[in-house]
Subunit: 371 residues, 2 copies
């Protein structure tokens, strides 16, 4: 019996989008789902109770950051990541690869693994597929991701092929290093850049491993949105229908809608919290830059159609004041609203799938939402 | 019928400390009370719901900061400070004087008022006793403070006398400018530096105005604690027993205990939240510098005798991790615990007064608490 399973509950007759249920040892969650990112054992500014209040069912943790501080040994000794951060629902951890490629330069990628220097103190480290699994086993997440290379965009075809094939070999090693089948799932990751045939090659190679779920990585890294959508469309027909598909690092409202339409089940992104800390709110009409002076005297809520804690109790004028004066409560309230908004958006998406009207929902959504 | 009244419920037979009840248009609160400081319309890092959860009954707002941003006209237009910040319990506002003297240098004090430059943009402003009342009336706080001069320490006797006498004249003007007797109280402020006879002179002058309460200002500004206690003891016998006494800007645990023993009813200080944001916790054993490496692997709570949200759910190791990585949740949780600790301390103090054993409580407290 695998630790994590997926049940396809309903497929939208209009779009083909999937409404489903992922079951883990720490509870189940409905999909499509957006997973708030808890980089360093905290979803920035939020308590676990607040995350539950807005309906978060699963969050993400970053292996790279937790490896650097406080270290997997400390977290393991204290009872694992869930207990450490006071979150008893499912956690997905990434492999650490993405942060190494984006944060911890300079790096050196070889067949064995990735050499890098910590972005904190410059100390040297080496991450291998086996070590990525070992760290995630020590953290005790519910879903682990294999070490992969997130190929940059643009990249030439030869490099992308070489890279995706290495990602497959890394998956082979990750699977062999994985010892916690009874309580942790391991997902493989489809790469292949923006080359349709390479995406398909990768999908075939990765799905030759019978895993509880599959990620689609290396998208939303600078390429045009149409190219991202084309890659998703190239890959999903090759993925088994009884496993969840996770589009990694993607989480803007328009991408959540478009990704769901294309059969994606899981999403994550730091975007809503980062945007919030920068003083911008997500609403059904698009982005509201609350820092702007136009909000100085506005007694409107961030979004008249949102009934989150923030929209029920605070005016734009107050939030403007907090952001302008650099108050931490402002960072909290905008992060809170943005996450609540995405949770609400996902509820709407799931409902539209169940009612076979996701394409109609998408049309309505883009009539009012300005990306 | 004055807007704010005080009822002395019980006087400790051991210490003479006062257990009482202050009633305002927005509810009543038991004294001695600690008032968390909501400088810029927010008690830093905390929501109003969290403040209520830890038992805060009244908070403080800073007239200077709110005057500068977003301005009393904006707050008034939006329905007043309570509505603006989503806090429906009592608020006490200071006069703005203290921040001008401490933040907004250079300044020029004359009989008419205080010239100063904004610490934000250097713009020129002029605060008078009348204007301090007008701003506080616009903010709509429940208790207003007169404009006074917080004399620095040390200061020579001639200057302190001149200053306290001007503070009395400013009270006279503040009383004449006060138009909201039905819904807002005005407190006068006793000054006089560390000169016992000047403190008494000030107390006599200030209490010649029949006001709903009295502040004791200009203490805990660098003078030895013994001198502060001596000044409190010089003043309190001259204050009417049926009005609350507010020791301004004082809020460390040892001062709260000592001040209560000497008949003080109200306290405020940014100390617990500022200390928390700097990574230090207040406990029944004294300060715990959670930033220190000794806590890296500690699964203990901040305080084993505290049952606040933070102590119930988080280890020192986790808090250490959050503070070391600069996570906002760390600032939140330490501020939360520190405020909860002070609220708990005040509950213990009130209970000890009611049971005529505050001096015994003080002795026990200082046996374990290291300041």
């Amino acid at each position: 019996m695998p630790a994590v399973s997926y049940q396809l509950k309903h497929q939208c007759q209009q779009s083909g989008a999937r409404y489903g249920l992922v079951t883990t040892p720490r509870g189940s969650f409905e999909t499509p789902v957006f997973m708030p990112v808890g980089t360093r054992a905290t979803v920035k500014t939020m308590t676990p109770e607040e995350l539950k209040q807005i309906g978060a069912e699963i969050i993400l943790g970053n292996t790279y950051h937790l490896w650097m501080r406080p270290g997997p040994a400390v977290i393991s000794e204290l009872g694992g990541l869930h207990k450490f951060m006071h979150w008893d629902r499912p956690i997905l951890t990434d492999s650490g690869g993405f942060q190494i490629f984006s944060l911890a330069k300079p790096k050196d990628i070889e067949e064995e693994g990735v050499h890098f220097r910590s972005h904190i103190d410059g100390s040297r480290h080496f991450l291998t597929p086996e070590k990525a699994v070992a760290i995630q086993e020590a953290l005790g997440s519910d879903i682990m991701m294999q070490l992969d290379e997130c190929t940059p965009w643009p990249a030439d075809e030869a490099y992308v092929r070489h890279s995706l094939e290495r990602t497959t070999r890394w998956l082979d090693r990750a699977v062999k290093a994985w010892h916690t089948h009874d309580r942790q799932a391991l997902f493989g990751i489809v790469q292949g850049g923006t080359y349709e045939h390479l995406r398909k090659q990768s999908a075939r190679e990765i799905t030759s491993y019978d895993l509880p779920g599959y990620g689609i990585g290396g998208l939303s890294v600078g390429e045009p949105a149409e190219l991202m959508y084309a890659m998703i469309e190239a890959v999903t027909p090759l993925l088994p229908t009884d496993r969840p598909r996770y589009l990694m690092g993607v989480g803007s409202p328009d991408y959540l809608v478009e990704g769901s339409c294309r059969g994606i089940d899981m999403f994550d992104c730091v975007f809503p919290t980062r945007l919030g800390r920068n003083g911008t709110a997500l609403t059904w009409s698009g982005r509201v830059v609350i820092r702007n002076s136009v909000h100085l005297r506005s007694d409107l809520p961030l979004d008249a159609d949102c009934d989150c804690y923030v929209c029920r109790h605070y005016s734009r004028a107050y939030l403007h004041h907090l952001i302008r004066t650099g108050e931490i409560l402002g960072l909290r309230l905008l992060s809170w609203h943005n996450l609540a908004f995405l949770m609400d958006l996902m509820r709407h998406i799931r409902q539209a799938i169940r009612e076979d009207r996701l394409l109609s929902f998408r049309d309505d959504f883009f009539k009012s939402y300005q990306a």
